[in-house]
Symmetry: C2
Subunit: 582 residues, 2 copies
């Protein structure tokens, strides 16, 4: 037996016990007469103590040969510490070691295995198995495990079946780019890895399994942004005989269950907000509601005063930064630079200070006298001490820019606290998005999303006007999950593919199996999928999903630890009947 | 709201309730004055009743338009049935329908949605979403869900972390053939889909996560035998700081937990049997212990009597079929034909009847008198009424043939009951297997399996003699799981790759990341993997894993429902930088 206890469980009650521990050498402190070692395993740290005078030469020799990250097994007696460490679970005791067995040596690690490591990203990715030993990463992996456990507890208790869907499926060009897998047994043909189990979960509804879920890997071959991975995990769910409200309630329940059981937090009922309302008031479809600071439209208030920037603008819109009237010139310049950055792209920033003495002062005093500015202040419900920030231009672009500015101000005011959670549902998304470049409509959610019944009459003549029974779960400005009520009628699905530019033949070839299934008694159904990596990182208070994945890939889609992807052999090329393009 | 109840829950207590149900039309019985419909959902069947005289014309019209598998929503009152059906959960009540809403129509299904369908394999695979509606398949999917739930319950309660490992990994030619995935961002290079998370779970042990599991998809591009799938699911587990006995106990616990909690069966302690013992006594490494009928070696007893078949044989070995002395000539001929089939390949079958009158009669009376036969009987501990069956030839082939015959006799005697479960551990497997064709050793389990310490000295000079710390869980003659204690020493791992024919360079290129990891404090570790599809089918009392997979592939690796694999577009070929071989 390698151990009687773990390194995290011994305490004052164990004093006098003879125990065996196994673990890694975290730290060695040699004070001459006494020598201490912190022994680490998954469960914690236990201090080992060696008294030079009282141990034999052989044991001393072994102890002296140890280095960081050596794996050892020790047997000894639990004793009370002279100087206790109240911060450690095992801080009241130490182990007086009688025998020591070196299970494995270690080279000196290329970076320190501490909460704050001295290793850069690249080296920590290469030696990921060492990075995973660090407590912060271990806590993330444990959190992810707990999230999985509690997700299943909730869904199992609500009669969901976890049903596995295939990974080797069929390539369909709609949506993101597929990873494909050449077939050896069907040469010249390819499987695709699923971007999501969408069609399969709908088929399960047709098959009568009215509550399905799966925590499942999905794949998208996209150029990777900072926080995307080519493979990622979804909590994928679908229900039959439900309306939108049933789904929102069920998964609001799941989210609350996770907050309660993983983080011990009770959350309010989630507000519901239409897409239009969110865009108008927050300039984005995933507003961070930890703070208010809603948009105030000024077109009627500011136009017609010879100020060309406002007069020519499609939209003049602003926010009121509470208590920021005292911002210095430098701070205001920073904000101007912020909105003028290429990724935000505003032309400039207009401000008005509502000074604490009641006077008003703006960056456009040339055009607006104090009387006018008073009207502004009233429109914003501003009070003395507040700062009004205004952007103007094309509607969509201006909303987006002001939304970014709002978040920036939120950051500066400390309104985006990492231990506060504000979930909400954003609903009534548009069904379609027009793409200027390709001159066609794309599905905003996906081609299986049902239009709102009351909007169906727009489908033929003005499809851009149709709203969908689609919804996103947003927490703290992060889209954590999204879903929709689905089409379950063959003809409507066919019409939808037509609007998306599919010929009937293409639609039949790629999604014929689903449309056929709709002819054999498909029930009304809908579902949702949560980004599991994303919700774990949100719960973990981090912005990076990579730290919540045991073995992530870098931004080029490489696993630098195993050095993959890599070349394959001629035999493999021959068996698959493929070759590289010359 | 689509329903107030499911079709499986209404009973005598609900009489008088107004309820709404949704589901599929299973059966319509029109008896003139009365008309009944069985309405089906995932939870059961509820009988709907329509009294022609008492319903309005519109409702009657709707009812008459219904066909099998239509999806309907009905509202009505629960009433007591006149003739109750005690076999149905809902058999005491029926629903007197007031309103009926046709949610979706159905074409006539291509086969009957009944427990025994009239559809052939091919058509049921093509319309898998309809096949999945049948109760026996639904029960399998539910069983699989429950197996997953209970597996996680057990492992979570024993402090295992479920940790996801990557699907886009690196191709390594050892073992079965990989499925590969061309990389677009790293053109000319490929990912491979994992045959198992073996190396990753070992790295997790190096990383200190001493109890890992995952219910995870794995992939092997092999020519498919009847009961293999290109993608399959494993319960994959690994533990650190453990010896073989720790692992056997932990997973014997899991198996018992599953039997208890999924099937309500208490199982005895699992016997442990060495590979050598199993081969000698049952002729195979996965003996079905639901019945005894162990092998009896006869070399010393039968040789030297001028019977060339025995005298020339490497092994003469037999079994005693209890109570089969009365077998007819025809039955014995059938058994002879059975062992002479090409896939078994014995030259013939020798028998001796121990008649109930105490006389003995064999098929080789020319060579063996009754005195001799008495010795045979004594060796077998045979009694009057028994039948002795003997095979002779090359050792391995003869063992294998007699093992098949033993199972056949077990079948004929009804000794292989599908509701009896007899698990055991088979241990001490050979580390290596010699392959005549390629003239090299292969790892019997895999290259990471540790040799038994006491056998390590054979590694250099006589590797075939080395036994491994490897073990299989066998239930009713089926290998349900297998695992081993792993190598955790870089030099031993390197030596092992050498024995398997890797150059140092190849070993470093393919598995360098693992061998490097072993230099940074790798703990002793080991693990096991269960075939999840297999154990589900065993628990479900079926020999086919396909019925326990929601969307299986056929023997050519095709999904005939979605028609995959399929062709991909020129754009995809171009982006990936690959082409088909001309």
């Amino acid at each position: 037996m390698y151990r009687t206890h773990t390194c995290g469980e011994l305490n004052i009650k164990n004093i006098g016990n003879a125990v065996t521990l196994s673990g890694w050498v975290q730290r060695i402190r040699d004070k001459g007469a006494m020598l201490w070692i912190d022994l680490r395993d998954r469960y914690g740290l236990t201090q080992l103590v060696f008294e030079r005078e009282n141990i034999d030469a052989e044991l001393l020799e072994k102890v002296k040969s140890l280095g960081r990250e050596f794996v050892i097994q020790v047997t000894g007696q639990v004793i009370e510490r002279e100087s206790k460490n109240p911060k450690m679970e095992t801080g009241e005791i130490e182990l007086k070691v009688q025998t020591l067995n070196i299970l494995n040596k270690s080279l000196t690690p290329p970076f320190t295995i501490e909460d704050e490591s001295d290793g850069g990203d690249e080296i920590r990715m290469k030696y990921r198995y060492l990075d995973l030993r660090r407590t912060p990463i271990k806590n993330n992996i444990e959190l992810r495990h707990n999230m999985g456990v509690e997700t299943r507890n909730y869904l199992n208790s609500h009669k969901f079946f976890e049903i596995e869907t295939p990974f080797l499926i069929k390539s369909t060009p709609e949506g993101a780019r597929d990873f494909v897998v050449p077939s050896r047994m069907n040469q010249g043909q390819f499987y695709a890895l699923p971007q999501s189990p969408q069609t399969f979960k709908q088929l399960l509804m047709v098959a009568g399994y009215d509550r399905y879920f799966q925590i499942v890997r999905c794949f998208r071959d996209e150029d990777l942004r900072a926080d995307r991975q080519p493979e990622f995990t979804q909590i994928d769910c679908e229900m039959a005989f439900v309306e939108q409200e049933d789904i929102l309630n069920m998964f609001e329940g799941l989210t609350k269950h996770l907050f309660k059981n993983v983080k011990g937090i009770d959350i309010h009922e989630f507000p519901r907000m239409s897409y239009d309302f969110a865009m108008k008031n927050y300039g984005c479809d995933k507003p961070d509601l930890r703070f208010k600071m809603t948009f105030v439209e000024l077109n009627d208030v500011v136009k017609g005063k010879e100020f060309k920037v406002f007069d020519d603008a499609e939209l003049v819109v602003g926010i009121c930064a509470k208590g920021c009237a005292e911002y210095t010139r430098k701070q205001l310049d920073e904000l101007t630079d912020f909105v003028k950055r290429p990724q935000i792209g505003a032309m400039g920033l207009i401000y008005a200070r509502y000074n604490s003495d009641g006077t008003l002062k703006s960056s456009v005093d040339k055009f607006y006298n104090e009387e006018e500015l008073k009207k502004w202040a009233a429109t914003f419900n501003a009070e003395p001490g507040d700062l009004i920030l205004i952007l103007a231009g094309k509607e969509e672009k201006t909303q987006k820019a002001l939304s970014e500015l709002r978040l920036e101000i939120g950051n500066r005011l400390g309104l985006r606290k990492s231990d506060v959670y504000y979930p909400l549902w954003v609903c009534d998304f548009p069904l379609l998005e027009w793409d200027e470049e390709t001159q066609r409509y794309y599905a905003k959610h996906h081609p299986f999303t049902a239009p709102k019944p009351e909007d169906i009459h727009f489908l033929e003549k003005d499809p851009g006007k149709v709203r969908a029974n689609a919804y996103d779960l947003v927490i703290n400005g992060v889209e954590v999950g999204g879903g929709s009520i689905r089409i379950y009628d063959r003809d409507l699905q066919k019409q939808m593919f037509g609007i998306l530019g599919f010929t009937d033949e293409e639609a039949q070839k790629q999604f014929g199996f689903l449309m056929n299934a709709f002819e054999y008694g498909a029930p009304p159904h809908g579902g949702i999928a949560f980004g599991f990596d994303r919700i774990c990182s949100l719960f973990g208070g981090s912005e990076s999903i990579r730290d919540f994945i045991a073995f992530p890939k870098n931004n080029s889609g490489r696993d630098v630890m195993i050095d993959s992807p890599s070349e394959i052999s001629d035999l493999q090329f021959n068996e698959l009947g493929i070759m590289l393009k010359p």
